[in-house]
């Protein structure tokens, strides 16, 4: 059950972020002023992928809550870091982001730190 929850959480988080990034790259530069916030809210309602990403976010949030209820937080936090690697790989493959040696090395350092935090 624990690993099933981890899997749901990791996949839902990755899917949510990939969908958001995909839509926002196409949307052009957005701001968070009074008008910008209104436009972002309207975009969430109007763009199917953004709406889907919010649903994925809810899934990920509730599976995290269920996870920390039964498993220790020191397991849940590093486990959630798995989405970090999955998302970076998928950002390269699906979103065609350029991940050079410096970004890859930095991401691995951050991952190491997050795993260490939870131990």
């Amino acid at each position: 059950m624990t690993w099933l929850l981890v899997a749901i959480m990791v996949v839902a988080t990755a899917l949510s972020d990939l969908l958001q990034s995909y839509e926002m790259k196409r949307a052009g530069v957005q701001s968070v002023g009074a008008r910008g916030v209104g436009r972002l809210l309207r975009m969430i309602v109007e763009r199917r992928y953004l709406l889907l990403s919010i649903a994925c976010l809810a899934f990920s949030f509730f599976s995290f809550m269920a996870l920390v209820q039964s498993a220790p937080l020191s397991f849940a936090v590093p486990a959630s870091a798995a989405s970090f690697i999955l998302e970076t790989v998928l950002a390269k493959v699906l979103l065609k982001e350029h991940i050079g040696p410096r970004r890859a090395a930095g991401t691995l350092l951050v991952l190491g730190g997050v795993v260490l935090l939870g131990r």
Binding site: M24, Q30, L95
Partner: protein, 136 residues
């Protein structure tokens, strides 16, 4: 949009996101701890908890954090934002140590140092590699 404007926008959105999420979580934690009822599977209990001003403020700030992150994704790569937002862990450790006077273990400082070094390395890469004005 000129590259320098884009960099300023990326970092101001990043700071705003980190601040909103940190303060939002703080409000939520503080608000839920003083609720008379325990949060359970009953959705009504969650709805009632929103009547508490601290909980409501926390939720509002977390919604704003989500929107700020969307705006951030419109100017920067996902693979750039993911490691950069991990700076939040560093801020939490520093706030815990110097504001709340919590004990932070040596292992935790090592973790903080790794995250800090990693984000510094990532921040030296181009923010956006897919947009029209991003570097290839």
């Amino acid at each position: 949009m000129p590259a320098s404007t884009r960099i300023v926008r990326t970092y101001s959105l990043l700071l705003l996101f980190l601040a909103l999420r940190a303060i939002g979580n703080l409000c939520l934690a503080w608000g839920t701890k003083r609720l008379p009822e325990t949060l359970a599977a009953d959705p009504l209990v969650y709805l009632r908890s929103m009547l508490d001003p601290a909980v409501a403020l926390g939720v509002a700030m977390l919604i704003m954090a989500l929107l700020t992150r969307l705006a951030l994704l419109s100017v920067a790569d996902l693979s750039f934002i993911l490691p950069m937002t991990a700076v939040g862990y560093v801020l939490a450790a520093l706030l815990g140590r110097f504001v709340l006077h919590e004990a932070v273990s040596g292992q935790r400082w090592l973790a903080v140092a790794l995250i800090f070094a990693g984000t510094a390395l990532v921040s030296s890469t181009p923010h956006s590699t897919t947009g029209k004005d991003g570097a290839p």
